[in-house]
């Protein structure tokens, strides 16, 4: 075990995929939360999801394992170590879900742009707040008071 600066470096390097996962995931989540542009939010969501895909795929790798494809003649050598193909299959499904989410999100952004004339969250919220105020003025029960 190599210990320098009080850190277990084999542990740190050995868990590289987790570090990358954490960095990517947090980047994505940060973009979703911090950016006001609706399209950028979708981009952030994509990065966030991609981080999860990477986590799954990296977990499926078996040390020294090869691609899990059987030879055509099905003469399987018991000594050959195969990587775990299941995470790939799962992630294929998750990618499809991601594509569907992205396209739906973008479609909503297009429609929002058509209705509101902007895709900046601040302006949309301002417009929505104004509409809510109008609603409140129109429909409030204290409507008898002079406005």
């Amino acid at each position: 075990m190599v210990k320098e600066f009080g850190l277990d470096w084999t542990f740190v390097i050995g868990h590289l995929n987790y570090w990358l996962f954490i960095i990517l995931m947090m980047t994505g989540l940060y973009i979703v939360v911090a950016k006001g542009n609706l399209v950028k939010k979708i981009v952030g969501l994509n990065i966030f999801q991609t981080a999860v895909f990477m986590l799954y795929i990296s977990v499926g790798k078996v040390k020294g394992g090869t691609a899990p494809i059987f030879p055509v003649d099905m003469n399987i050598d018991p000594d050959v170590l195969y990587s775990n193909p299941l995470p790939h299959v799962l992630i294929l499904t998750a990618i499809v879900v991601g594509v569907a989410t992205t396209s739906l999100g973008l479609a909503l952004a297009v429609r929002i742009r058509e209705e509101y004339g902007t895709i900046e969250e601040d302006s949309i919220q301002k417009i929505d707040r104004d509409t809510c105020l109008q609603d409140a003025n129109l429909h409030s029960e204290v409507a008898s008071e002079p406005r």
Partner: protein
């Protein structure tokens, strides 16, 4: 997959029921697109929903004695293959979802015809069926990743359905977008949790997962998985601090969709939460007990008060009901956090009773939108005289929401209070009663608007057509029926709670 030596015994129709439960609505959805006609869309959707209801009833009847039906997709036996697994808990949810859908659809035909333009109808009902089959799939599947896939099928179609409200109010688009962002984050958290579980155990089958976690015991990976799954599903459930997507989504969606979603979508998510918290993870794990006691319980209490309080000050009937939904989800989570049989029974029974109550109320909102053109209190002034039948339904369902004796809502609150007292948490019991008083206030406001305020002179509002009234009244009568005759719901809820609390043993069958 049978090998050549094994003689295959043909499955009968009864054996195929678990698969048919999903396949029927799922085949019907592309069928609508293929036929393309608007005339065919609704009949196909209704037929599929009705067939699902019959299947769900048959399934529930065969598992009420505590037995478990296991169906192997593609002939691959679990834990390798995907398994559909029906026990009392999810048969109950299946019945609730398909019953609500079958009642809401006739209502939707009239209501949607006015709220959504006609050229979208075929695709609208396709999305509806996909949402429906997604929700059913979440409930029936016994595979963790399959839960995610079905959850996303239902969520994606829900976003589309909510956005259809844009023809009446463009805020439906932003509501749908917000829900999409929050829902996707929730679903992705859920997948991360499942990933951690897979890392720790190497399996995705729920029963197998439960077994292996019970064998291995506590570990940091499993704790991380638990945290991610609870937060992820919590987003879908609209657990208190992450509930903000719900009020807007419910308010601006088409009325029929709100009625359907309020009664089913969050309920199915609660079921997933129950399934993971009790069956997959061991309730005996100390971190789980702590999570329930110190995180879920306080938040549930805050939801009950904060959201009821917000509901009191709304001037839109629909928005008020949406906030009340978040508060009612607080009751369900409260029941879960008691971690005893009475508490979980209360959660399951409230899931059902709140489902039918909210379906009745949201459908009534749709009736006011249909006739009066809006659900703001000032447009509803004095409509108790113009729309007597709808308004009477609102009163009865409203009483059920408060929890007045004789209605369904009373039963669930009664069991919930019992659960709290059993645990010795009498302050919680007092709080349950206290937050019901807030419900009295917000329901009273509606009743006052409907009956005690004068009808505007020039009002030409008339009662809605029968196709809308009948579904509203079916749900309203159900509120009374399940308030007086509690045998069916109580026994099903108790069977479900026992199965859930038995932990991994419950997954294996007695």
């Amino acid at each position: 997959m049978a090998t050549e030596t094994v003689v295959h015994t043909a499955l009968t129709l009864t054996d195929q029921l678990p698969a048919l439960q999903i396949v029927v609505p799922f085949v019907a959805a592309p069928l609508i697109v293929l036929l393309g006609g608007r005339r065919w869309a609704w009949p196909i959707a209704f037929a599929a929903s009705l067939a699902s209801l019959v299947i769900a009833a048959l399934l529930l009847a065969s598992v009420l004695d505590g037995s478990i039906i296991s169906y192997h997709m593609g002939g691959w036996a679990p834990p390798v293959g995907i398994e559909y697994r029906v026990d009392a808990a999810n048969a109950f949810v299946l019945l609730l979802v398909s019953a609500i859908s079958t009642v809401v659809l006739p209502y939707a035909r009239t209501s949607i015809a006015r709220e959504v333009s006609e050229r979208h109808h075929a695709l609208f009902y396709t999305a509806y069926l996909l949402c429906f089959s997604g929700l059913m799939g979440v409930a029936i599947t016994g595979d963790a990743f399959n839960v995610f896939v079905f959850l996303e099928i239902s969520s994606l179609s829900t976003y589309v359905l909510i956005a259809q409200g844009a023809e009446r109010d463009r805020r439906a688009l932003t509501a749908s977008y917000d829900y999409l962002i929050m829902g996707t984050i929730g679903a992705t958290f859920f997948v991360i949790g499942i990933g951690f579980l897979y890392m720790a155990t190497g399996t995705l089958n729920l029963a197998d997962l439960a077994d292996r976690i019970a064998d291995k015991g506590d570990s940091r990976t499993i704790r991380a998985a638990f945290a991610f799954i609870v937060v992820g599903i919590g987003l879908k459930v609209a657990m208190y601090p992450v509930h903000r997507w719900l009020p807007n989504a419910y308010t601006y969606a088409p009325s029929a969709i709100t009625a359907f979603l309020a009664a089913t979508a969050t309920k199915v998510a609660v079921y997933v939460l129950l399934r993971f918290v009790f069956s997959v993870f061991q309730p005996a794990f100390i971190f789980e007990v702590h999570t329930l006691e110190f995180i879920i319980l306080p938040f549930a209490l805050v939801a009950m008060f904060a959201c009821s309080f917000v509901a009191v000050f709304q001037s839109d009937f629909k928005m008020m009901l949406a906030f009340s939904s978040v508060a009612q989800i607080g009751y369900i989570l409260l029941g879960i956090s008691f971690l005893n049989e009475t508490g979980v029974t209360a959660a399951v029974i409230h899931l059902f009773n709140h489902g039918i109550t909210k379906a009745a109320l949201f459908m009534a909102v749709g009736a006011y939108v249909y006739s009066a053109g809006g659900s703001f209190y000032d447009t509803m002034q004095g409509l108790g005289r113009r729309m007597p039948l709808t308004s009477a339904a609102v009163v009865i369902a409203g009483l059920s929401l408060i929890g007045v004796p004789g209605t369904a809502g009373f039963i669930s609150k009664w069991v919930l209070v019992q659960g709290a007292l059993e645990k010795g948490w009498w302050p919680v019991a007092i709080l349950i009663v206290g937050s019901s008083l807030l419900a009295v206030i917000y329901i009273w406001r509606v009743i006052e608007v409907l009956y005690l305020q004068p009808t505007p002179e020039d009002s030409r509002v008339r009662e809605v057509p029968m196709s809308m009234l009948v579904p509203i009244w079916i749900m309203t009568l159900a509120c009374i029926w399940f308030g007086l005759n509690t045998d069916m719901t109580m026994s099903a809820a108790q069977a479900a709670a026992r199965g859930l609390l038995a932990g991994s043993a419950g997954m294996m069958g007695q």
